[in-house]
């Protein structure tokens, strides 16, 4: 392989123009997840971020040194302003979900999300960090180039053709890389400790009372099953971090990943984590397959909607037919 072909490969991987449908769908899911995160935080908003919160702003600034993007540091120190930030973040994430002023709102949502996380780092899970990082790259992505109110307005004004135009892929690639790095680093961290290698890790996880959500059948908690489960989780995380880039394995791995995260969502109480991670799976789906699924849904929905209308039509026509035969 020559250097020139390597450069070409690099350019194709990052800068090839493709349908922005994946990133547009990701924007919708991402916006919805940010809204859900904010809604779940709402009852304790001032307990976590208020003037008299569990952790004060001076303590956070003392513990977390260096410059940080944190709107709480520049906001007037009152609970009214801190509440206003909540509504501002919620409104902006709603607009981002619908794709109105998409670029501006992706910046605003990123700023708000980063500030919320920097104000209290001690209540975060990996899914929160993933949302923050993905949000950064979403700023640069053509997230409003499809399935957005922005596009609808542009098409109506004649500023954009009705067909969705292909766009540069690099920002989407960065989010994809982020997801595969998430899995790979998780795998590398896990194999540093004995419990995952020995296969005992899940035994401990499933016996922590605070983490339990819905009942798990007893046979799944048998040591042998948990041992196989621990190793399977390791194998899957390694594969999702590496093999996902190969087309031959991609859909199998995405399917296994969905089942894995749905199982964790059922059995463990870590709200939003699984959905945060699963959100980026859409970026790995072939745009042609998304169009195919979209068309199938559209056809099924229109047939389903047309069926009662046709039945009504038949009912109204029936007396006429009867009269003509008599």
């Amino acid at each position: 392989m020559s250097i020139r072909s390597l450069i070409k490969l690099w350019n194709t991987f990052f800068f090839e123009k493709r349908s922005p449908i994946n990133i547009a769908l990701f924007r919708i899911i991402y916006g919805t997840l940010v809204i859900a995160t904010l809604v779940l935080l709402r009852p304790n908003w001032l307990n976590w971020y208020g003037i008299h919160a569990w952790v004060s702003l001076p303590t956070v600034l003392k513990l977390e040194t260096g410059r940080r993007l944190n709107l709480f540091s520049v906001l007037p120190q009152s609970d009214a302003w801190i509440n206003a930030l909540f509504w501002f973040a919620l409104f902006s994430s709603l607009l981002l979900t619908f794709g109105l002023f998409t670029r501006t709102n992706s910046v605003v949502v990123y700023l708000c999300l980063t500030s919320i996380q920097q104000r209290n780092l001690y209540i975060l899970h990996g899914g929160d960090s993933f949302l923050r990082l993905a949000g950064f790259f979403l700023i640069f992505a053509p997230a409003g180039a499809a399935l957005s109110l922005d596009r609808l307005i542009r098409v109506r004004r004649g500023k954009e053709p009705p067909n969705i135009q292909p766009r540069s892929l690099w920002a989407q690639r960065m989010i994809q890389l982020q997801l595969s790095l998430l899995y790979l680093t998780t795998f590398l961290l896990k194999i540093k400790g004995a419990p995952w290698l020995q296969g005992t890790a899940l035994f401990y996880v499933y016996h922590i009372d605070e983490l339990k959500r819905f009942p798990v059948p007893g046979w799944l908690l048998r040591p042998t099953v948990l041992k196989v489960g621990s190793w399977a989780a390791l194998l899957l995380e390694f594969s999702l971090g590496t093999l996902i880039w190969f087309k031959e394995f991609r859909y199998w791995l995405l399917g296994a990943g969905v089942l894995f995260h749905l199982w964790l969502e059922y059995s463990l109480n870590i709200p939003m984590f699984q959905w945060d991670v699963l959100s980026a799976y859409i970026l790995f789906v072939d745009p042609a397959d998304i169009s195919r699924i979209g068309n199938t849904i559209r056809l099924t929905a229109s047939a389903w909607l047309r069926a009662p209308a046709m039945a009504r039509e038949e009912r109204t026509q029936a007396p006429d037919m009867h009269q003509s035969t008599v």
Binding site: L40, L41, P43, N44, N47, W48, H52, A53, W54, V55, S56, T59, K62, L63, Y122, I123, L124, H125, T200, F203, Y204, H207, I208, E210, L211, R213, L221, R222, P223, T224, N269, I270, P271
Partner: protein
Amino acid sequence: MSLREKLFNERYRKFAENLQKDDLDELLPDAARFIARLNSTPENPVKTVILLQQVSFIVPRPDGAYIPEPWQPHILLGYGVQPQDLE
């Protein structure tokens, strides 16, 4: 706790996990002040807050069964509340 309560309060689990870390000891006085404010009334102000860590080891038995070990308390912090903490 109901599932709904768990959903809204899950962040407390993570916070409690971090409160117990040695390198985050500086969080403890803030947490003690918050608890003092929460439980104080003008007639009955809180004077001391003691943060206890309850530990129960998860030990797999030779046959793979699990029987919860007894909880052992450890004091994380004893905090003397100042009048200004309650403002």
